[in-house]
């Protein structure tokens, strides 16, 4: 049972990791590519980490919690990265399937927001 759970978690994790990267390749523009890695991957790595937690906790060397920490880190940082990347892409005017709101372009182009 444990082994099945572990195997399932591992396969799911790896699969999501893979799909995340697949999105990176398959999606048509930068903004759509952004979604795959930032989300699918967090889940993928998350389930791998849970698998690892279970795995090491059942190895007879005491519990293993520290994987939670990696997950925590990823959950805090991944959205920030995504936001910054998106912001940078907007700033650079990266080619996009959907038109960004005009105020973005206006503010970024003339440095309107400069304090």
């Amino acid at each position: 049972m444990l082994e099945i759970t572990l195997s399932a978690l591992i396969i799911i994790g790896a699969l999501f990791t893979f799909i995340g990267s697949l999105g990176l390749v398959r999606m048509p523009d930068f903004y759509t590519r952004l979604h795959g890695p930032t989300k699918a991957t967090t889940l993928g790595v998350g389930s791998l980490l849970i698998a690892s937690m279970i795995y090491f906790s059942t190895q007879g060397q005491g519990v293993s919690f520290h994987e939670i920490l990696v997950t925590l880190f990823l959950f805090i940082t991944a959205p920030v990265s995504a936001h910054l990347l998106s912001k940078a892409a907007l700033h650079l005017g990266v080619e996009s399937l959907s038109k960004p709101p005009p105020e973005v372009e206006r503010a970024d182009a003339d440095g309107a927001g400069t304090p």
């Binding site: 940082t77 920030v80 936001h83 650079l92 005017g93 182009a109 440095g111 309107a112 304090p115």
Partner: protein, 936 residues
Amino acid sequence: MNLLLVVLVPLVGAGLTGWISRFGRMKSAWMTGGLTLLSLACLAPSALAPFAGEVVVRRWPWIPEVGLDLAFRLDGLGLLFAIMILGIGLLVVLYARYYLPERDGLGRFYAYLLLFMGSMLGIVLSENLIQLLIFWEMTSLSSFLLISYAYRKQESRTGARMALTVTGLGGLAMLGGFLLLGEMAGSYELSVILTQGDAIRADPLYTPMLVLILLGAFTKSAQFPFHFWLPHAMAAPTPVSAYLHSATLVKAGVFLLARLFPVLSGTPEWTWLVIGTGLATLLIGAGIAFFKHDLKGLLAYSTISHLGLITLLFGLGTPLAAVAAVFHILNHATFKASLFMAAGIIDHECGTRDMRRINGLWKFMPYTATLAMVAAASMAGVPLFNGFLSKEMFFAETADFSSGFEYGWILPSLVGLAGVLAVAYSLRFIHDVFFNGDPIDLPKTPQEPPFWMKAPVAVLVAICLLVGVLPALTVAPLLKIVVAAVLQAPPPAFDLAIWHGFGLPVVMSLIALFGGVLVYTTRRPLFKLAERVEGQLLAKALHDWILAGLLHGSALATRWLDSGSLQRLVLTLVLSVLALGLVGFLDDGSPLTGPRAILPIDGVSLFMTAMLILVATATLVLHRRRLTALIVVGAMGLLVALIFVKFSAPDLALTQLSVEIVTIVLLLLALYFLPQHSPDESSWARRLRDGGVAILAGAGAGALTWSILTRPFDSISDYFLANSLPGGGGSNVVNVILVDFRGYDTLGEISVLALAGLGIHALLKDLRLPGLERDAEGRPWNWDLHPSIMAALTRLLLPLALLVSVFIFLRGHNQPGGGFIAGLITAVALIMQYLTNGVAWTHSRLSGNMYPLIGAGLLIATLAGLGSLVFGYPFLTSAYTHVHWPIVGDFELASAMIFDLGVYLVVVGATLLILIHLGLMHQASHPGPNQGEESL
């Protein structure tokens, strides 16, 4: 002791004289005269010894291992030269005091003169050949100083450098020759060498040795084809010419021939080299002398000619020829010194030395004229003067030598021709200067010089006369001991009578006299002819050409080699290393592959390797787009870290990861100030070449890796694995190696890091680089300095990161981690604050002053190492203990942790120092309302 003093008095006195001259012009003259006399006085106690057939030798050890002692020797030859040097020296000192212009301080002149005098005495009194060489070179140097005395004149500088170059060449050759000679004789001591003539002449290296030594002698004595420096040395003040270029310096060469005569002479090589050179010099010197319009030029070439004569005599190799040579050395010194002095007086009085303008001086300075005429007659070889005696002997010896050869008439004929020319130029000296009508357009009206200026000339002329008339009474005893010293054998019987009866020598003398008069009378068409062939004389032209070519060539070669191109430097290094590595590996055909069992390849590794190679090659393709290249390198760093993970190196992976990110931040900081793209500037040929070199280098590195990885292996590491826990108190062996087994390496390593920080801090001072207003595509930068979503969350991360950092630090001794990685984590966490919240915000919360932190870290690490000294153990000896506290439980205290703390602090300090200051450079280059940079 006194021999040493003879040399030392002038040498030491030189400095004294230079110094005393600041108290008055006359003081230095008196001083020099006094020192010369003192030196003479020092010589006196030993002066009689040679007459008693003794050789005085005194030694003081200097570098005994290599047979280099201070050793002095006084025999007849040395005595003759010492007397000449000191005697004529005294007269020159007197003469110069009046000759040199009033405004001249004289101190420098006399100092150089004494330096020369001491060096010259050193040559003639040396027992050790290497010591002789030392003094030999010192005469070159002091004569360089004397010739360049009037250094503002171009000709002085040229003359001096030419003399230095030529005599320098000779000196170096002679060093080679002496070394060989010393090797053959097993000693540099003349007493030893002079007894081993036969063995030395039989040595297989005799010829090269002879050539090298003769090069030294010939350059110094201005023998053809090295003669050209001497006329140019006439740029020296006339007293110098009188002293160096007639009596002393140029005689050093012939002195050496005399000195080594018993060892070197008598072989065919010696005979033909020395005779040939002497004869050529004799003829060429005499020929040119006649055509020189410059008074001193005439004398200079005449000197060259006479030196050739003496050389030729030594070349003949017979004892009697040696007698003649030695005798002529003495005679030439007297008449030529006096002639130079006379020429100096004429120059001094007329303001020119051009014989085409100087005429009829008999009317203006009859006393001087008389003295000069006597000396010139001696030079011409007129009977009753000393020159006649030795020249007669010369004619006799050449005739005698030639008689055995089939074409034996050639030598006497040529020698006779030289005699004719000698008479001709002597006659010219007399007639063209003192008679021949009236002076033409002289700058000054000539008159008799002061008495004390004429007196030295008179003394020398008197000697000419005295020796010429009464040779047996005056010079014969001296000549005997000199010849004995030269031959290292009892002197042959010789007769110094004026009249030897009618024979070939007399005929030759007569031919010379009449022929000379004849040549002189037909001088005008000859001068015309000479003017036509004039131009650069061969040897001098050759010298100039060689020197110019050398300068030009070296400039070309150096410019080509030292092109200031880094690419060239790197390429040279890489190619050298490739060559060395290849030679090293292939020299004896060691197998590339060893017998060690290899690990099987798994799919993931294969795939990742392919990825790494892909990424690495991509850097090459993308490198000109710099930001892209940077991102690619970031990926590569990650892959490298994964390799470390794969092959059981968690510590390395951690380090690689953190260093990687810091490096990327660093490169980004730098990239802001650099162009965003590298220009496409390499030609295809260049890329192909570089690619080829790179592939070779890569193949080499790969082959080396393979050859090592496949070889069996036995290392010292078992010791670390066995002792890490019991001896070092840690189960992370890598960390124990770092802080304990090889903690000293780590101390060096953090010093490097600290140095990088300090070096960069120092480098940044005054560094101004304008930041860019717009990005590479010309867009303005984004308005949002510190995106608030990022800023808010990064603040949350700081405590978390610090916690991780403490964690990594504390467990490092037993698990992957340690001070270095912890330090980097801390630094990165703090850098993040700068990145996301800005400098102003962060600085109001964290002092940017990092170097005290670096200092403290280094100090803690060092003190941690020093602690063990208190207990008598070596630096960096660690100690650890397990402590048990209630509740807390068991934990370990290790001194290595303190060391690691030092590491931690240095890493934090240095990393922050580097990054922050780079980041601050923009502000620094835009002085504004921000915080003062120097406060950091």
